[in-house]
């Protein structure tokens, strides 16, 4: 019953592994690293959406991860690899603040609580100057080497990011197929019914929160080392690390395995391309287009691209008489199989 067709895992992985051999341009490798970071955060975010929960609080975990690794490294001389481990733990612990709202609130109320949490952490990071150096931010030292995750070339960054992202995807697939994932998807469909069957839904949801936050923390930590400069408005930016991952996931297809990956791979270069192309033209035009594209994609493909492509594929196969992509593909889609 469970087939995990290997070719579709092996081929993309091989392509990803070999990519730096063909792509020598450092800028493309940089964009690829960005895509990998966003893929990772989106995949992590998506674990909560298996359970039908929409979080806009992942910037909080991302920022906690970034600050953990850089404060430990710069102020206490802790090796960044250990720092990343610490970041995972701190982000997971930091996510516990959201545990109570997660268990008590449903739907948009939880989403709003997560957004408020990001804002609180951002303001605290600005305020706590002795710890975080406030808005001026922290710069990681230029010492290079594998031990410090700092290199001149992009290749090593690429492979480290790829390893992290593949691990995240593997964890996500594993969770999806595990009992936890099964319970999560059941919770997304009808929490009360699942609880009536004797599943401890609170534990299930809490588990997804902790895992998702820890993974996001790891990517936050990696990104901090990658970008060198850590500053509250960026690391705790709801736009960059709460909304964008959610957007990738939704555009790809929320609650599926492949959706977030597809979403991140498409949306990251799109944002870059718009900025590069239109930034010289007139203030704000690139983001205007971005906003409009967003409205159009969500409006025309409410189930995400994966669902949208599926509808198109179906249509072409059945000679244009398919069901179309109109059916909603929110959390409920997770219950349908093929």
């Amino acid at each position: 019953m469970k087939k995990l067709s290997l070719p579709w895992i092996i081929i993309p992985t091989t392509v990803a592994l070999l990519l730096p051999l063909f792509l020598r341009d450092q800028y493309f490798l940089h964009i690829s690293v960005l895509i990998l970071i966003y893929t990772g955060v989106t995949v992590a975010w998506n674990i909560m959406s298996f359970g039908g929960v929409l979080s806009l609080g992942h910037a909080a975990f991302f920022g906690i991860g970034a600050y953990t690794v850089s404060i430990l490294y710069v102020d206490y001389g802790v090796n960044p690899w250990l720092g990343i481990l610490a970041a995972i733990i701190f982000a997971a612990v930091g996510s516990l603040v959201l545990a109570i709202p997660l268990l008590r609130l449903r739907g948009p109320f939880f989403t709003l609580a997560t957004l408020a949490y990001v804002e609180v952490l951002r303001l605290l990071a600005i305020w706590a100057v002795p710890v975080t150096n406030g808005s001026v931010g922290i710069t990681t030292p230029p010492t290079q080497g594998l031990a410090y995750i700092s290199f001149e070339s992009r290749q090593p960054y690429y492979y480290i990011a790829l390893a992290f992202t593949l691990a995240a995807i593997a964890i996500s697939i594993w969770i999806y197929r595990s009992k936890l994932g099964y319970h999560l998807r059941a919770v997304a469909t009808d929490e009360d019914a699942v609880r009536a069957l004797g599943v401890r839904t609170n534990r299930v949801k809490l588990g997804s929160l902790l895992i998702s936050a820890g993974m996001t923390g790891a990517f936050g930590a990696f990104a901090a080392l990658y970008f060198f400069v850590i500053e509250p408005d960026t690391q705790f930016s709801a736009t960059l690390y709460s909304i964008q991952p959610a957007l990738n996931g939704i555009i790809g297809g929320m609650g599926t395995i492949a959706g977030p990956i597809v979403g991140a791979i498409i949306m990251t270069p799109l944002g870059e391309w718009l900025r590069v192309t239109f930034s010289g033209a007139s203030q704000g035009v690139n983001f205007m287009i971005y906003g409009a594209v967003l409205i159009i994609i969500v409006r025309l493909m409410p189930g995400g691209l994966v669902e949208g492509f599926r509808a198109i594929a179906r249509k072409t196969r059945r000679g244009g008489k398919g069901r179309g992509g109109k059916r909603s593909a929110d959390a409920k889609t997770t219950k349908e199989g093929e």
């Binding site: 970008f227 400069v229 408005d233 093929e338």
Partner: protein, 422 residues
């Protein structure tokens, strides 16, 4: 029902290959704009400014100055016979700054970058340029950290936060104390600062500067520039009854602060802004006559002693021609001046922007104060910080922000007026 199968079957492959194709299509689109960098006829420089996002206002104003400098220079034959081409990058946030710096260096083959207006953006951009062995010239950010990290090819032409706090204290000691009729040690001074990297880098130096002149009653209070109400800040100010308020504000918050000081009837001996919002023409427009008497410590503004700032007329008339308005603040002028100096240095290398060659030339170059459009001279210290750039004290009078201190740059003497129409 087997939900686990989703995502890994033949149909999904079709979908992913479709998505993959899209992504692949994006790659050449990004690739097609690669450039060869500087060549025999064209000098290609990387310009990084935030023209969207929170810093859009003054980032755009700064970038305008560079555009004017470039066009004027190109019309006059360019640098060492080469035309200048600006490769522009919009950098609304820190990660984008790091990202765009990479694009300029690797995709556009830029060897020499400059910008950046905001300190945290400057830190991010310079890290990339410095760590890839390229040169970066800062024209606007004031945080000390830009030049104190030990990078030998990071230069800064504009004066810094230390110059600002230094001038604050100088002005208090040499003018305000006397005008208010109190010895420095009895003056109560309060610094209100917005909490972005701008405000925080200034306030971090202010305490020490206050100690230096023997200012004993000095308080600093942060606030958020995004606030829509500064009542708390103003009420705290009222209860402390300061003689002098030093404010470090961005744009809309500067207006809000002024209006709420007036609304709450807080009579101050003197109010000294610190660049940013208090230099903006729209600050005066929003407050009207109530802005009269507000002092402002900042880069050179356009109402300055013209003997001290040769070339400023060209700048103003060119600005008028292009945007049909007065410069919104001195940011355009200082970036204009910085860009001109940058071109002059490149002139001495024969238009060679190789990082080593440029760095050597930049360290050798010299210019007296009072010979540039902003009145700045040029002489680098050991950390590649220009020592001859200076800040001035301006004062609002009607719709003009007139330079009043120090005397060599002033158009008139300072006047003590209770600010905000009180």
């Amino acid at each position: 029902m087997s939900p686990t199968e989703r995502g890994f079957n033949r149909r999904s492959f079709l979908r992913y290959s479709g998505a993959g194709l899209l992504a692949l299509a994006a790659a050449p689109a990004l690739a097609s704009c690669a450039s060869r960098g500087t060549d025999a006829t064209t000098l290609r420089l990387g310009a990084m400014y935030p023209v969207s996002g929170t810093n859009a206002l003054l980032g755009e104003e700064s970038w305008r100055g560079v555009q004017i400098a470039t066009d004027l220079r190109n019309a006059g034959g360019g640098v060492a016979g080469k035309q200048i081409e600006m490769v522009f990058a919009d950098v609304p946030d820190v990660n984008t700054a790091a990202s765009e710096a990479r694009r300029l260096v690797f995709n556009k083959n830029i060897k020499l970058g400059f910008g950046t207006y905001s300190s945290s953006l400057a830190l991010a951009a310079t890290e990339v340029f410095a760590r890839t062995g390229n040169a970066y010239v800062e024209l606007g950010a004031v945080s000390e950290a830009v030049t104190t990290r030990g990078y030998d090819k990071v230069f800064r032409l504009n004066p810094t936060a230390a110059d600002m706090t230094g001038l604050h204290m100088d002005f208090i000691q040499n003018y305000l104390a006397g005008a208010l009729g109190k010895p420095v040690k009895d003056l109560r001074v309060m610094m209100l600062h917005e909490d972005s990297s701008y405000g925080q880098s200034i306030v971090s130096l202010a305490k020490a500067a206050a100690d230096k002149i023997g200012l004993q009653h000095f308080e600093a209070e942060p606030y958020s520039a995004k606030s829509t109400d500064l009542s708390s800040t103003v009420l705290r100010m009222k209860s402390q009854e300061p003689d002098i308020v030093l404010a470090v504000s961005y744009a809309a918050d500067a207006v809000l602060l002024g209006r709420q000081i007036r609304d709450n009837n807080v009579k101050l001996g003197a109010f000294v802004g610190t660049g940013g919002g208090h230099s903006l023409a729209s600050f005066q427009k929003a407050l009207g006559d109530a802005a009269d008497g507000v002092f402002d410590v900042d880069f050179t503004q356009i109402h300055v002693n013209r003997d001290f700032t040769p070339g400023i007329e060209d700048f103003i008339s060119e600005y008028h021609k292009r945007w049909n308005a007065e410069p919104a603040s001195g940011h355009s002028l200082s970036n204009f001046t910085g860009a001109q100096m940058l071109f002059d240095i490149l002139e001495t290398t024969g238009g060679n922007d190789d990082p080593e060659v440029f760095a050597a030339a930049a360290r050798k170059y010299h210019r007296e104060a009072g010979t540039s459009a902003a009145g700045w001279g040029y002489e680098l210290d050991a950390q590649n910080q220009n020592q001859q750039g200076s800040m001035y004290v301006m004062q609002w009078s009607g719709s003009k922000l007139e330079t009043v201190y120090p005397p060599e740059a002033a158009v008139r003497a300072p006047k003590l007026i209770t600010p905000f129409g009180l």
